[in-house]
């Protein structure tokens, strides 16, 4: 482990959390209850994008990925709830 940088330690932690969240998504049977685990996975992927590519456009990529993933979860959950309501 000699010579490992702080960035690499951060990346290892992020990847381990992402793998754990992916496992929870796969194991959980209830679709609505999968979504918070998927949320953790999206956090880990967005974090990994920024840690792996330290470039201004990587911030755009991480945000675009995260917002897109959130919107998909929103759509799946709202479909399970029976579609949009007047509050939406």
């Amino acid at each position: 482990m000699a010579g490992i940088t702080g960035e690499e330690i951060a990346l290892i932690i992020v990847v381990l959390v992402g793998l754990f969240a992916a496992l929870r998504v796969a194991v959980e049977n209830n679709t609505l209850r999968k979504l918070p685990y998927l949320n953790v996975l999206s956090f880990a992927i967005a974090a990994a994008i920024a840690l792996l590519i330290r470039h201004p456009l990587a911030l755009l990529a991480a945000a675009a990925f995260f917002v897109g993933s959130t919107l998909e979860s929103n759509a799946i959950a709202s479909t399970f709830a029976g579609g949009s309501t007047e509050d939406d």
Binding site: V14, T70, S78
Partner: protein, 161 residues
């Protein structure tokens, strides 16, 4: 190596306190912002959790909240300092509007987190430690025990309400 891990854990605690405080102040546990968030809250309640904590977890899933704001602001500061963090806040603002979120928890969280993360980078922390810290912080709410997390959030909401 242990010092880096200790700083990541400290950054995680700071991020956790920041996003939970902002989300509770912005009333995320009060009700689901969209029907999907309400459905997730009810599903967590069926599992044995607390309804208002579930609503907050549903809201976190359905639109970028202060936790997402903190993560993206940390990424922004890591890449380009304060301007990067503020650019992340703008992206979170656009993300909120895309997700039909009527609130400003995400944008507020991103702006505050930009200055918090930048402040900590001035005293020996690295912005990457906040990126990993925020991923660990969201894991404790959304990824370990929905029942336990929702009860904790409902207790905090009880103090606020």
């Amino acid at each position: 190596m242990l010092d880096v891990i200790a700083r990541i854990l400290a950054a995680s605690l700071v991020s956790w306190l920041l996003f939970i405080t902002i989300d509770v102040l912005f009333k995320l546990p009060e009700k689901g912002g969209v029907s999907g968030a309400t459905a997730i809250g009810r599903s967590i309640e069926e599992e044995g959790g607390a309804l208002h904590g579930g609503y907050m977890m549903g809201n976190i899933v359905c639109s970028p909240d202060a936790s997402a704001g903190t993560l993206l602001a940390a990424c922004g500061v890591y890449i380009a300092g304060i301007p990067g963090g503020l650019a992340a806040a703008l992206l979170v603002y656009l993300g909120n509007r895309i997700c039909h979120d009527p609130g400003y928890a995400g944008t507020t969280g991103a702006i505050l987190a930009t200055f918090v993360v930048f402040g900590f980078t001035q005293v020996g922390f690295g912005a990457e430690e906040f990126i990993a810290g925020m991923v660990l912080a969201i894991l404790t709410i959304q990824g370990l025990s929905h029942t336990g997390a929702s009860r904790l959030l409902a207790t905090l909401w009880g103090w606020r309400a």
